[in-house]
């Protein structure tokens, strides 16, 4: 279930910064990025080019995906220098 705030404030005021997280755009995805951590160098190139953002840095400096919001565009896989990311069918 997607929780959507419906209260409409006077003047069209939007009261909650960053509240698009209520809506999980991960459901749009057709293909899903997966990372080969043996190849990932932690350069964060994928992260700087993700439009959402749906990529997070792990404690070891490598990356993981936030599948709640990743739309599966494939930019990260296309741009990763060591080709550590592949797009797989959902």
């Amino acid at each position: 279930m997607v929780k959507v705030e419906t209260a409409i404030l006077p003047g069209g005021v939007v009261s909650r910064p960053g509240s698009t997280t209520d809506y999980k755009t991960g459901t749009w995805r057709v293909k899903k990025p997966t990372v080969d951590l043996n190849k990932c160098t932690g350069c964060l190139i994928c992260w700087i080019y993700c439009p959402e953002p749906a990529i997070l840095k792990r404690h070891d400096g490598k990356i993981e995906f936030n599948y709640d919001y990743c739309k599966g565009c494939g930019i990260c896989a296309e741009e990763c220098p060591p080709k550590a990311i592949s797009m797989v069918e959902e």
């Binding site: 939007v14 809506y23 190139i45 700087i48 494939g74």
Partner: protein, 311 residues
């Protein structure tokens, strides 16, 4: 002079000012550019947004992706609203002490090249301290891909189709940065999200001036340019590498190409990956292709000469 130069991606990590869950199409180039610009921006920041894909997809009311104060006014008046905010902050500063805020106004190409150009010109002339960013997807995308003053020659849009009478848009792209630079503002530059270091440093530079500044950033749109969503950054990079999108700045009137392209890729490489432009490679459209090539070459040559004047 460059205060707080961005040197590595790692120093930008954690500085995101937008949340995911926004409704932009998968792989939207505008969102990549806006994300990078916001990460580089000085704070506290107030964002003004003209009606456009960015506005509609970022704020599906009552939700919003923005984590900073953000105001949406009309399609045509982002620069006017930014001027008013800056003037109000000045008045508050006089009354209550310094209110230090940075203002960025975002407009699409329709909102900037066409309908908002009068408001923009006025704000630049009055000298308000703010950064105006035109994210350019080269058509009115939010209403279904209509041609704008930013659409390049030959591009197919719903109002400049390829048919027996015309081969896409009949006119060349308007040279907006030159119009902006003619206001003699402190800082104006082009940029591309593919060249994130160049872009983020231009944001820092723009905000170091006590006056208006302007950044014109390319924003590949897979829906309106017809390419695979995973190619967004590749297309932006090809635009730079073919000299279609020169990266340069005009700082206090001094021109400088910020990313030299000594051996450009053939323009065809940029055209062939997008269905809005790939018809230009057909033999029967050779004349249109030659015209576009001439436009790209002349612009580059002119920029090179202007840059040489100031080195």
């Amino acid at each position: 002079m460059l205060v707080g130069e961005v040197k590595s991606i790692k120093e930008l990590y954690g500085l995101d000012l937008i949340a995911p869950g926004h409704r932009a199409c998968a792989g939207c180039g505008a969102l990549v550019a806006v994300r990078q610009i916001l990460m580089a921006s000085k704070k506290p920041l107030i964002v003004v947004n003209a009606t456009s894909c960015l506005e509609v997809t970022s704020t599906p009311y009552p939700q919003t992706m923005w984590k900073v104060p953000w105001v949406h006014l009309l399609f045509e008046n982002a620069a006017t609203a930014a001027s008013g905010i800056e003037a109000a902050l000045k008045a508050l500063s006089r009354k209550y002490g310094r209110q230090e805020h940075y203002i960025i106004a975002f407009g699409g190409d329709g909102g900037t090249f066409d309908i908002g150009i009068q408001a923009l010109s006025g704000a630049l002339e009055r000298g308000h301290r703010f950064l105006y960013v035109c994210y350019d997807n080269e058509a009115y995308m939010n209403t279904g891909i209509q041609r704008s003053g930013a659409t390049p020659l030959g591009a197919a849009t719903t109002t400049s189709p390829v048919g027996s009478k015309i081969v896409g848009k009949v006119q060349n792209k308007k040279d907006l940065l030159e119009i902006v630079a003619a206001h003699r503002i402190p800082y104006a530059a082009t940029a591309s999200p593919s060249h994130w270091k160049d872009l983020t440093n231009k944001v820092r530079k723009a905000q170091s001036y006590d006056g208006p500044s302007f950044i014109h950033v390319i924003a590949p749109c897979n829906r309106g340019w017809y390419f695979d969503p995973s190619y967004t950054i590749k297309v932006a990079r090809l635009a730079v590498e073919t000299r279609y999108w020169p990266l340069y700045e005009v700082e206090n009137g001094r021109y400088r190409i910020t990313h030299s392209v000594p051996s450009p890729k053939p323009l065809e490489e940029f055209l062939k990956v997008q269905r809005r432009l790939s018809h230009m490679l057909l033999p029967e459209n050779a004349e249109v292709l030659e015209r576009l090539k001439a436009y790209v070459d002349e612009r580059w040559e002119r920029l090179q000469k202007l840059s040489a004047c100031f080195t």
